[in-house]
């Protein structure tokens, strides 16, 4: 089998029958599984065994799925390559020697390598769509509130959603059917406005006749030439099937990366304060008082990228800087939402390359954090706007997979699934 796709390989059998009977699922290792360790790719949780299941895991079991393992990820979801995992990096089955993307790299790689039929990941700023694009599979980031986050170890709660991977759009949509829906244990969930009795899987008809596609020019600027070429080929394919496209402008997205990182880091600094080695997780058992012991536990337990984000988030929220960073980032977030609302009033869906670049080589990109953050330019605006998006394989450049991202209005998943299935 491919290297390091799973952090823990263990089979969890679901119910005897159900819509996912006979289907194998890889589950990202930040989604709680009762009795099976859940590490978040961190030394901090190397031995943590959750006493309860995440709501999505309960739903998988009830649907008859077989969970085959907990997949590798960037530590606490913080990364674009799966290389920040304490448990080592994962090779890209679709492009050996390259990263699988991140942070849900193990989940995408599991599907690409045939180690699982489908997989669950989580997407805070692109962590489902990036690895889907890099591994040549399908990934869906649902509308904020469509899928319960109960049992997902929190990183940036206002941004993240659990979502599915599949080899085909229909496979991913079928998994979305199982995990979607409100949950009294996550007060941010909502029941999607229903479209009759039809399922998400039913929407994978490939019918794009009459579909209007807006292409945000800002999301093509600075992208790799081969990626852009592959993107336009896919748009031409959709046109040939009856869709039309027009350019749109989203001036706010020029500030999306910095707004995203300020908000995500601020939320991370608060969320990860819980890891003190007392109730669960690594305990350095250090001498000294409460503060000294916590600082030692967290020095040992967290890797560089996690420390970086906790410290920058603490800085951005500290007295004197809050208005300068956090408040401005919230303004930018509201602006991004307005821009998307306006663009989606004139188009059924928006389309862009999922990632502006093809997969990095393993080890290529760890030293410069800012360069890595900039690679998220096309995915983070969607999380800031709470919208759904899908990444589907669009072709290759120099033998490396390229993904195309469709973005839709809130709870417009069916429309994205229909558009995505036209590229298969």
């Amino acid at each position: 089998m491919a290297d390091d796709i799973f952090i823990t390989e263990e089979t969890i059998e679901g119910a005897d029958d159900g819509p996912l009977a006979g289907t194998t699922v890889a589950v990202k290792d930040n989604i709680s599984t009762e009795g099976v360790r859940t590490t978040c790719g961190s030394r901090m949780l190397e031995e943590y065994v959750p006493p309860y299941d995440a709501t999505v895991v309960t739903r998988l079991k009830e649907a008859g799925a077989t969970i085959v393992g907990k997949s590798n990820m960037d530590e606490f979801g913080m990364g674009t390559t799966t290389e920040t995992s304490y448990f080592g990096s994962t090779d890209n089955p679709a492009a050996p020697g390259h990263v699988p993307g991140g942070s849900s790299g193990g989940s995408a790689a599991a599907v690409a390598a045939g180690e699982a039929d489908v997989a669950l990941g989580s997407d805070t700023g692109g962590s489902i769509r990036c690895p889907a694009a890099f591994c040549g599979v399908v990934g869906i980031k649902p509308t904020y509130g469509l899928v319960s986050r109960y049992g997902l170890v929190a990183y940036g709660n206002s941004l993240e959603q659990i979502g599915p991977f599949g080899e085909t759009v229909e496979d991913a949509a079928q998994l979305l059917d199982v995990i979607a829906g409100s949950d009294e244990r996550d007060a941010t969930t909502r029941e999607a406005p229903t479209d009759g009795d039809s399922s998400y899987a039913d929407a994978a008809t490939g019918d794009v006749d009459g579909l209007t596609i807006g292409v945000p020019t800002e999301l093509l600027e600075g992208a790799d030439e081969g990626v852009v070429e592959t993107f336009w080929d896919a748009i031409a394919d959709l046109e040939a099937q009856g869709a039309t496209y027009h350019d749109v402008s989203l001036p706010s997205v020029e500030h999306a990366v910095e707004a995203y990182y300020v908000i995500a880091m601020s939320e991370a600094s608060s969320n990860l304060a819980r890891f003190d080695g007392v109730r669960y997780g690594h305990d350095a058992d250090a001498d000294g008082n409460w503060n000294d012991a916590f600082a030692q536990t967290r020095e040992d337990g967290f890797g560089d990228e996690v420390k970086r984000r906790i410290l920058l988030g603490t800085y951005a929220l500290s007295a004197g800087y809050h208005d300068k960073y956090y408040k401005k980032a919230q303004d930018a977030r509201a602006w991004v939402k307005q821009d998307f609302d306006e663009a989606l009033a004139e188009a059924d869906v928006l389309a862009s390359p999922t990632m502006p670049v093809p997969p990095f080589e393993l080890g290529e990109s760890l030293d410069d954090p800012l360069q890595m953050y900039l690679a998220d330019a096309n995915t983070v605006p969607v999380n800031l706007a709470d919208l759904p998006a899908i990444s589907v394989p669009a072709g290759e450049t120099d033998g490396l997979p390229v993904g195309l991202q469709f973005i839709g209005p809130a709870f417009g998943e069916a429309r994205l699934i229909r558009a995505g299935s036209a590229l298969e």
Partner: protein, 92 residues
């Protein structure tokens, strides 16, 4: 680099606030990286003030007693316990 670039003392101070111990070489590395990253964040200054129309409703449930984890289960992942409680380091 802007005048606001962060100093090693500030990195140590923030690390102390966040209860994250740092080795000396980490302080140097983070000081350099934070200068770049914070300089990039400065571009948020160009963002106009935006009316935020939050369309949010509170979600409440009745305050009723419900089942929760058994005490023993809740303590299973703790490194140290005593008489059914978590045991932490000395406060001072």
């Amino acid at each position: 680099m802007s005048d606001d670039a962060v100093s090693p003392e500030e990195v140590r101070h923030v690390a102390e606030l966040a209860r994250v111990g740092l080795a000396d070489d980490e302080v140097d590395q983070f000081t350099r990286q934070f200068a770049d990253i914070l300089e990039y964040f400065e571009t948020l200054d160009e963002v106009p003030e935006v009316d935020r129309e939050a369309d949010l409703t509170n979600v409440m449930r009745p305050d009723e007693v419900r089942d929760s984890l058994e005490r023993e289960t809740a303590l299973e992942n703790a490194s140290e316990t005593e008489d059914g409680y978590f045991k932490g380091p000395n406060v001072s």
